[in-house]
Symmetry: C2
């Protein structure tokens, strides 16, 4: 057997779903997790427990792997450079991943490439934010820590200079961005392998609330064909220029005047691609694994006219089992994905997916199930 | 968290694929395997190693489970009765499972129910086989050990009394059956839960060679609607009358004169249902788990007009990795399922699935990939 071992750093739901995809591929899946209760650690056979911020732990983990990839972007760039220098196949590599780790570097690199982004600038203090606002965008301004943010953490929308003080308190670099007048958010997800093969998923509509993805519709309804093609081409170009291997999610704003602007990059399986487990010929998780292993990529095409994925967030009720049972009974076509996580208010604990020909029907069913699981509705 | 623990006895590929289905369901999956190298033990987090023929091992395993189910039919019936008497939820229960364990009991029970079967009789020695042949069916006669056979093992087609000696050498009870003049084999797969809900998958065509399933087409091409409905109704009736919980595969002969006869019963996920992983809204593995957990069942409907599954058998080459890579490159729509097993000639080491609108295309692609992986073709 020469089937390889893929190691994933991080024990969240992305690693859990990646293991699920690794099983039919027949590749070995090794996990570096924080605790045995991590979402992925609950289901993976080969788990190393340890701290991803510790280089020796990373070395010990990587020794058993043919390639190392990620469930999150938080592994220190210098550790990844060290591993790579020691001969470990790190995918995406640190030279690419740094652009998903550091929003300041990402904006600078996308500027070089001429990729359309919101107006932005690194800022040093609240007065500098006001200066940035005065350069054209005005208040409110979006402030982001350049490193460490996710799911709305590390992002502030500030109305004036007084509110702009908060982000600077942590002492990390802060990026100011114009608050874009967008009609909706989109995501262009692509997968690229080391030998340069790439596939593009249909562009999806992503509905965010408080910085957290709530709902994804594939493909994005009423998106003009040329704008969809432009978004896919842009994502493929970014993947190529940055030499990204694996899954790349390009989060986009669709502006009121019909342009697309890049919001964020994620170089790993991403919430915008969860619909693909049930909705595409090859899921983002399988294609991510195929890419980092330099295997030929699978068909990214959708299997249904419409697929809607809604995240299940924790509500006030810690036990979802009876709601889960109810949702299965109500809708035999519902695809439920639970992450094995304890329910905490606002925490992503699962997602549901529905596919079909009628968008209204598909969306209503997915939303109903997610709301019922959360406990927002009881009928 | 009140999400239950389902325990599966047996570490083969059926348990491996059941674990894959358990991950999104969010239920805990516990495995009783013979060795850490078992197909399922390679991927499951919670593995107990032990002998399924040992009652104390079974007790120890069951103590951590809310329900116990099976990857194979070989657990001694008396042990299952003991577990059940001690309060363990065993699904399917021993009173049902015994009809999948013992072909003599199965035939007697189906006779009582008036279910159409091949002409059959328990036989005691070669002369008795000749007497059975003389009662109408003639030679060749099919002889089966009543217990312990699978994948062609424990089955003989004998041309005369001299050849009929072999099956009696093991000293186990032998069942004689007429060699049915069938045009093809079909399978009617259904799933039934303890509270009596049941779903029926489309009737499939199953192509066997040397007693091993090679290829399954869903739905069975050119099957008259009334015959398909009859087969589904028959399988649902058997599931109900025998009080089966979980997946039931009813293997059928379609005779030259347009009847269906029951060949075998399997009360677990079954090779005839592997197509459903990629081809149905809810796979047989997920529905089996939902059934034994008494959860509402999922939609069994096919997602494509045609789905063809071809088993990957071991050939002369122990390393399939390069062939696997080639198959992925040739056909991005190919769904590959590898079981993590060492390659041995004739051993089931994986399966491939293709779906689409054009049966000839779908079948050619699936057959090509399986033949290439086996090493029968090199282009």
């Amino acid at each position: 057997m020469t089937f390889p071992v893929v190691g994933m750093i991080g024990g969240g739901q992305l690693a859990r779903m990646a293991h699920q995809a690794a099983i039919p591929l027949g590749v070995r899946f090794r996990l570096l997790a924080d605790t045995p209760q991590d979402s992925a650690a609950l289901v993976v056979s080969d788990v190393v427990l340890g701290d991803y911020r510790d280089l020796d732990t990373l070395r010990r983990f990587a020794a058993g792997c043919d390639v190392v990839t990620f469930d999150h972007e938080h592994v220190p760039t210098e550790h990844l450079r060290a591993l790579q220098a020691e001969g470990v196949a790190v995918r995406p590599g640190p030279d690419a991943l740094v652009f998903a780790q550091d929003k300041g570097l990402m904006r600078a690199r996308l500027d070089e490439l001429g990729v359309p982004c919101p107006r932005h600038r690194l800022v040093t203090d609240p007065a500098d934010v006001t200066a940035f606002a005065g350069e054209g965008a005005g208040y409110p301004v979006v402030l982001k820590t350049t490193r460490g943010g996710y799911d709305g953490k590390g992002v502030w929308v500030v109305a004036d200079e007084a509110e702009a003080a908060e982000p600077f308190r942590a002492g990390v670099a802060v990026l100011a961005e114009e608050k874009v007048d967008f009609v909706r958010e989109l995501a262009a997800d692509v997968v690229r392998s080391p030998h340069g093969q790439a596939v593009a998923y249909p562009v999806v509509e992503s509905w965010q609330k408080d910085g957290i993805c709530h709902e994804v519709t594939a493909p994005a309804p009423d998106l003009p064909h040329d704008l969809a093609a432009e978004a896919q081409a842009l994502a493929l170009r970014i993947a190529g220029e940055l030499d990204i291997t694996g899954h790349l999610a390009v989060e986009l704003f669709q502006t009121r005047d019909g342009r697309i602007l890049v919001n964020e990059l994620a170089m790993r399986p991403h919430n915008s691609g969860h619909w693909s487990i049930d909705g595409a010929v090859t899921s983002q998780f399988e294609n991510h694994l195929r890419a980092v292993l330099d295997l030929p990529l699978g068909d990214p095409r959708p299997r249904a006219r419409w697929t809607v994925m809604v995240n299940v967030l924790g509500g006030d009720y810690p036990d979802m089992y009876h709601a889960y049972l109810h949702c299965m009974a109500r809708d035999p076509g519902l695809r439920i994905h639970m992450y094995g996580k304890d329910v905490k208010p606002g925490r992503k604990v699962g997602h549901v997916t529905v596919f079909g020909d009628d968008l209204d029907d598909v969306r209503e069913r997915a939303r109903h199930a997610a709301a019922y699981l959360r406990g927002d509705i009881t009928e």
